[in-house]
Symmetry: D2
């Protein structure tokens, strides 16, 4: 994570920022958005799993006038490994298995990180509703995102915008019309799959975004950043397809 | 399910309604809303799992002026048993295990059932966004519902409204402030747990609603309706607590 | 657990027995074997989950001359709740999910408890091989037991012996010929299901024994013992059928 | 699979062997045993998952005089993908999840395949008890194997024998003393992990053997065979480490 404003950091993390002098030289390590800035950077802040899945799904739309930018609601579902390798009783097998729950509604620390980046992309302040959920599986994050449309284009038109936006990206894949993203297809890979569906009845677009939280949502993205920094082939060490089942 | 209008049924189910003459004598079997009508009914339509979880979570708010009634977004997560005991390859173990996916975005057949009932409760037409998801667990439905607030009350104020609305209900439980609903707590029981959280930053209320889809979301509710119809104690055969783990 | 010999306890538990004077007044709380002794007892030692599943499966055969009593091998599979509600990293969700492993091969503390009871039943010393395994599920123990036969009866003959032995038992169910025990059928219940299969090729009988480790393997059995002690109906509070799925 | 005797095939599979003339030119594709014969072969029979896990675990001991070769009992635990991508109701999510069961006790079709190969390795007829179990996980086979010892060596001595036997094998790994095999460590890899434990009390050795049934137990092994046949590097396309979690 990287907060342009130490104040935002301190508010959400209840901690004093100890190195504000480094902020100016730090780049937010989402290569699809900041590749040019990452290449010469001296410090890269690796994004978290939830921000990666939400920002990649929203970036192309944030640059258009098609949506109400203050209407974004992201409902995310995460496998238990998202909590890290912890002895906390809440992540014990029987506490997580065979059930699902929301947590940190409206107060999760990834909210300011997402809002900052969506704000930069759109050029104005953005506030989102974000609710993470724990799902009884080891890996994977699926974000389902709801956005109000100013006008109601065809789904195919939005898919074209996304395909154009991500046309040179090795790790972002757009689902064909009628399909939504499924974490099964990205596990053990660095891919982010994005599905798009315009709901004409409600004048909303519903986006689905799937990553493996331990790869594109964590160390895989760190490797991708390192590859860029070091001038390596960007997909070096990251060319595994998703593995299913 | 029960559609007041055969036309709505035929549009969403692509089938001709074969018994429209029965509609007038049929009651929608959600006891918390229609107990009085169920008692003397000759035909009771048992609600599905998703509608039960969403309608119970929204009913008290639909009767107030606190919310924008056209802003409701319900994101639901269901265990695999929601698909029934089917040989469909999509519900085979390895297809469902260790992954999650959305389906039927904006077109699920439970949408008109939910819209009809929320519309009746509020006295005006309602359109909702509803996205069901498959979660790798056997039982349980969790619905996370986002609603824009006209004014922004304290969470505690809304909890009071809900406690009053459901004060005589044996099977609806309100979570205390700061807690959200968790399907772990309702499995093998007929309870519907509802959590409420006002997010002042975004001027939304986020509701969580958990049921066991095979009990309150299916046969348990049918038993509850039968008990009412037959004049039995309403919780007869339904007095199991949730079982965890 | 209950060890007739403090020495055996001290050897397997590496601890000094602090109340050897209580041993004479203590009964091993397996009602199917010790009901008469439990009734007037002042202290009842509740059996563990593995011993319950193995001893109930073996008891009828231990009283016959059909088997080689020194050839018993019990291979047990347990859900993770068998480890208790612990923060130990080994029982964290991602450590247990999607994999299986044996542990404590030949040295598990339930071995002397099983050997003592099988020895008492047969009237001679018994040594068994016992291997517990962790299975990625919350509840349930399945023990698969291999025993060399002196002579090779038909499976049906053994089922008759078991049916006779357990004919008055409310919580032991014999599988019909051709079926083996399945933990799915006993979860949330106090039942122990036993399957029997004679393998004529190898002159062995293979037994399968399924319980819910949290019920018949723990507190359910404790309630059953309390009911006997207090003169209550033995299945009071224990009359739930297994719940599946 | 490959049966030297069409008669054995016909007995266990209840089918007429349609190409007995090919048997002489066919090699059993377990590279660790038949590498020399596979290289020039015109037809290679790829072993099943259970036979791979059991034969690799037993091969070194079958060549010694340390064990009673008629005492082998293999208790195997398999993930659900072992059943293939099938619509059979028995492999539907809710039928498999949260429970475990044995099946085909003493009659599974992999028995004659295992007996044939262990017989060839030891130079005499072998009969084994083999019980497969379904475990609620997608991938992985763990076989726990019990063998009576003629004399009782130290565990370390047997590990040395195994290390020597498999010293040039890229895909067989011996666990260090005190550890048993765990399917978590081999998932998504072509490894077979083998654990060895001598139980001096019962004069038995207990072996644990873990593979990914979809890799070393199926297509991974087929690729390994193809590499040998075609003169490629044997681990080409198979150099993934296990992935955990």
């Amino acid at each position: 994570m990287l907060f342009r404003s130490p104040h935002i950091y301190e508010m959400w993390y209840s901690a004093t920022h100890t190195s504000p002098e480094l902020l100016n030289d730090t780049v937010y390590g989402l290569p699809e958005i900041y590749r040019t800035e990452i290449k010469p950077a001296s410090l890269v802040a690796n994004p978290g799993c939830y921000p990666t899945s939400v920002i990649l799904a929203m970036a192309p739309l944030m640059k258009t006038d098609l949506i109400y930018k203050d209407s974004i609601i992201a409902d995310s579902k995460s496998g238990i490994s998202g909590a890290g390798r912890t002895t906390d009783i809440n992540f014990q097998f029987a506490e997580c298995n065979e059930g699902t729950r929301a947590y940190s509604i409206g107060v999760h620390r990834h909210i300011p990180e997402i809002e900052q980046e969506l704000g930069i992309l759109s050029g104005k302040d953005v506030k989102i509703s974000f609710t993470p959920h724990l799902i009884p599986m080891t890996r994977g994050v699926l974000s389902t995102i709801y956005v109000n449309l100013r006008e109601v284009p065809k789904t195919g038109y939005l898919i074209e915008i996304y395909n154009e936006f991500y046309k040179d990206e090795p790790f972002v894949r757009l689902m064909e019309e009628g399909k939504s993203a499924d974490t099964h297809n990205v596990i053990i890979s660095n891919y982010c799959d994005i599905g798009i569906k315009v709901d004409e009845r409600t004048k909303r677009v519903v986006l689905t975004s799937a990553i493996d939280n331990l790869v594109k949502g964590a160390s895989g993205q760190a490797v991708q950043n390192m590859n860029i920094l070091c001038g390596f082939r960007e997909d070096m060490g990251l060319d595994t397809p998703g593995i299913f089942p």
